[in-house]
C-alpha cells in the first residue's frame, strides 16, 4: 500500500483533521487573549480559568436551570463575560498605567482563586456533561470516523473567528477599537467613551474563552483544572502568532493544532512540548511573532 512517511495517507489525513479540531480551541482562546492584550495591554492569565468557568457554567445551566447545550452556548459566555467585566472594573482597570508584568501577576492570582473556589465546591473528578442529541453519532468519511460534534467544533470556531476578525478589521466599531489601541486620548477627544470600550472588549475576550469552554464540555472532562495547563499552551500560541495580532492568533491556532497533530503520530511523547520548541525558535528568529509588528 502507498505510504507517506511510513503512515497510510488516509490515517495521516485523519490525524491532520484532528489536529485542526484541536487547533479550533487554540484559535478561539488565543483570539480572546490577543484581543485583550491588543487593547488593554494585559496578559490575561485568568483566561484558562475563564474557559473552565464557561464549561462549568454550561453544566450549571443544565443542572440548575434546565437550559440545554444550545442555550448554554449563548448564555454561558454572557454570564462569564459579565463576571469578567466586573473584575475589569474593580481590579484590572487599576493597573493600566503600570507595566504588563503587574497585569500578568494580578490575573495569575485571580486564576488561582477561581480554580481553588471551583475545586472547593465541585471536587476534582469532574462533572458529566452529555453531548447534545442533535450532534451525537458521526459520519464515516472513508478514511476515518468523524464524530458530528467535532465537525461542529470546526464550523463553530471558524464562524466565531471570522466574525471577530470582521468586526475588528472591517466595521466602524472595530475601527474605534483599533484607534483606541493606538491613541486612547485622541479617540476620547472624538467623544468616544474609551474606558467603556475597553471594559466591553475585556468582557468580549472573556466571553470567547467561555464559549470555548462550552464547546469543550461535551468532549473533555469538565473539571476545575481543565484550563490550568491549557493556558500556558495558548499563551505560546499567542506569542508565536505575535502578541495582539488578531489574524496571527487565528492562523497560528489552527496551524499549531496541525503541527501538534503530526507530532502525535510521529513522536507522541513530544506532542506536549513541540509548541514550546516552536515558540522558542520563533522568538529567536522573529521576536515579534509570525504576524506581529516589530517592537
Amino acid at each position: 500500500m502507498f505510504e507517506l512517511l511510513g503512515i497510510p495517507p488516509q490515517a495521516l489525513f485523519g490525524q491532520l483533521l484532528l489536529g485542526l479540531i484541536n487547533g479550533s480551541f487554540y484559535a478561539i482562546l488565543s483570539l480572546g487573549l490577543a484581543i485583550i492584550f491588543g487593547l488593554l495591554n494585559i496578559i490575561n492569565f485568568t483566561h484558562g480559568a475563564q474557559y473552565m468557568m464557561g464549561a462549568f457554567a454550561a453544566w450549571m445551566l443544565l443542572n440548575y436551570l434546565g437550559i440545554p447545550y444550545w442555550g448554554a452556548l449563548i448564555v454561558a459566555p454572557i454570564v462569564v463575560g459579565a463576571v469578567g467585566i466586573v473584575l475589569e472594573r474593580l481590579l484590572i482597570s487599576r493597573l493600566y498605567h503600570l507595566d504588563h508584568l503587574y497585569g500578568l501577576l494580578l490575573t495569575f492570582g485571580l486564576a488561582l482563586i477561581a480554580t481553588g473556589v471551583f475545586r472547593n465546591f465541585y471536587g476534582i473528578s469532574g462533572l458529566p456533561y452529555g453531548m447534545p442529541s442533535q450532534l451525537s453519532g458521526g459520519q464515516n468519511l472513508g478514511f476515518m470516523f468523524m464524530p458530528n460534534y467535532r465537525g461542529w467544533v470546526i464550523v463553530a470556531s471558524l464562524v466565531v473567528c471570522f466574525a471577530t476578525w470582521f468586526i475588528i478589521e472591517r466595521t466602524r466599531l472595530g475601527a474605534y477599537l483599533r484607534a483606541a489601541t493606538e491613541n486612547p486620548t485622541m479617540v476620547g477627544a472624538f467623544g468616544i467613551n474609551v474606558p467603556r470600550l475597553i471594559t466591553l472588549t475585556y468582557g468580549f475576550g472573556v466571553g470567547l474563552a467561555a464559549f470555548a469552554g462550552v464547546l469543550a464540555a461535551p468532549i473533555y472532562n469538565v473539571n476545575p483544572n481543565m484550563g490550568a495547563d491549557l493556558i500556558i499552551v495558548v499563551f505560546a500560541v499567542v506569542v508565536i502568532g505575535g502578541m495582539g495580532s488578531i489574524l496571527g492568533s487565528i492562523v497560528t491556532g489552527f496551524g499549531l493544532g496541525l503541527i501538534e497533530g503530526l507530532t502525535r503520530v510521529f513522536y507522541p511523547e513530544g506532542s506536549a512540548v513541540v509548541i514550546f520548541v516552536i515558540m522558542a525558535i520563533v522568538l529567536l528568529v522573529k521576536p515579534a511573532g509570525l504576524f506581529g509588528r516589530t517592537v
Binding site: L105, L112, I232, G270, F276
Partner: protein, 327 residues
C-alpha cells in the same frame, strides 16, 4: 520595564550607602544569623531548612528581577534541575553532601548560561515567555529522562557525611550546614548587588539605551546576572534536595516558577531582605494551611491580587519607605 523600576526605585535612590555594607544592613544580617542559630531550638528544624532554601531561591530570583529588571517565568528549571543533579550525585555517584550541592549549583549555572544566551536577546514579556518555554522543555526532559525517576523523582537520597566524616543524618547537624550555605549565598547576593557590577546592572534596568551609549556591553551583563541567578537558584534547589532526600517534578513544574515570583513580589522586589520575608510567609502558609486543602491555592491567589493592587513595593518595600532607608 519602566513600571518595575518605578516601583523598585527606592533602594537605588540612596546611592551613597551602596558601596560597603551600611550599619543598618550589618545589624539586620547579624540579627538574621542569630535568629537562624536559635530557630532550630524553637521551631521544627526541617521546616526552618525549607524556609531557608526558599529564601535563598527567592533572593536569587530577585537578583535577576529586582536588580537586573528581567522577569523570568522559568526559574523552576534551575531550582529543580539542580535538585536532580545533586540528588543524583549524592545517591548514584556517592558524592559527599557538599560536593553534591556543588554539582547541582554548577549544573544550574551552566543551564542558566545556555538558556540565558538565547533569552537575553529578547525583552520584557517576550523574555518571560522564552524563559517559560525553555523551562517547559526542562520539565519535559525531567519527565522523560531515565535518571530523574519520572514522577517518583529521585528518592531516598542519602544525607551522607559532610567532608566525609560529619554525619548529616541528625536534623541539627544538617541544619547548620544549610544555614551556612544559605547565609553565604545571601551574602554573595548582597555583595553582587553592591559591587560595581551591580551598579551597572541597575543602570541597565533603569535605562538600557543609556548604558549602551555609555559603552557598556549590556548583553554581557545581562547574561552574567542571569547565570549568577540561575546558579544561586541551583544552590537553593540542590540544598533542598539533600534536606528532603528527594528531587521531584514539583521543583521543575511551572507553578514553582510562579511561586518564586509570588515570594519576591510579596516580600518586595528589588529589596535586599524582601524575598526572605516573602519566602518565609509563603512557606509558612503552605505549611500551616496544609490541613485546609484548597484554601492554600485560594489564599495564595488572594495574596497575589492584594500585593499587586495595594502594595507593589512588598512588605519590606513598605517598611523601607516608612523608615526612609533602603532595605
Amino acid at each position: 520595564m519602566s513600571a518595575v523600576s518605578e516601583a523598585i526605585n527606592l533602594p537605588s535612590a540612596n546611592a551613597s550607602h551602596e558601596m560597603g555594607m551600611s550599619g543598618l544592613h550589618k545589624a539586620i544580617f547579624a540579627a538574621l544569623l542569630v535568629a537562624g542559630l536559635m530557630a532550630p531550638f524553637v521551631l521544627y528544624p526541617v521546616f526552618v531548612m525549607k524556609v531557608l532554601c526558599f529564601a535563598l531561591f527567592a533572593c536569587a530570583f530577585n537578583l535577576l528581577l529586582g536588580f537586573g529588571g528581567l522577569l523570568s517565568f522559568g526559574h523552576a528549571a534551575y531550582f529543580g534541575g539542580a535538585a536532580y543533579a545533586s540528588a543524583h550525585a549524592a545517591k548514584v555517584w556517592g558524592f559527599t553532601p557538599e560536593l553534591a550541592i556543588l554539582t547541582g549549583t554548577l549544573g544550574a549555572a551552566l543551564l542558566g548560561a545556555a538558556i540565558g544566551t538565547l533569552a537575553i536577546r529578547r525583552q520584557g514579556i517576550y523574555f518571560a515567555m522564552v524563559t517559560l518555554a525553555f523551562a517547559q522543555m526542562v520539565f519535559f526532559f525531567s519527565v522523560q529522562a531515565p535518571f530523574t525517576g519520572g514522577e517518583d523523582g529521585i528518592q531516598s537520597v542519602p544525607r551522607g557525611l559532610l567532608f566525609g566524616f560529619i554525619d548529616m543524618r541528625p536534623d541539627l547537624n544538617l541544619y547548620f550546614l544549610v544555614l551556612g550555605v544559605v547565609f553565604l549565598g545571601l551574602l554573595a547576593i548582597y555583595r553582587i548587588i553592591h559591587s560595581p557590577f551591580g551598579q551597572v546592572l541597575k543602570g541597565i534596568r533603569d535605562n538600557e539605551a543609556r548604558m549602551t551609549s555609555l559603552g557598556y556591553r549590556v548583553n554581557r551583563y545581562k547574561l552574567a546576572v542571569f547565570t549568577l541567578s540561575a546558579g544561586l537558584s541551583g544552590l537553593a534547589g540542590a540544598t533542598k534536595a539533600i534536606v528532603f532526600q528527594l528531587a521531584s517534578l514539583t521543583d521543575v513544574y511551572w507553578t514553582m516558577s510562579g511561586e518564586v515570583v509570588l515570594m519576591t513580589l510579596l516580600g518586595g522586589m528589588g529589596t535586599v531582605f524582601g524575598p526572605i520575608v516573602g519566602a518565609t510567609v509563603i512557606v509558612s502558609l503552605q505549611n500551616y494551611l496544609a490541613t485546609f486543602g484548597d484554601w492554600v491555592t485560594i489564599v495564595q491567589g488572594v495574596i497575589f491580587v492584594v500585593a499587586v493592587l495595594l502594595f507593589r513595593e512588598g512588605i519590606v518595600g513598605v517598611i523601607a519607605k516608612l523608615i526612609r532607608k533602603p532595605l
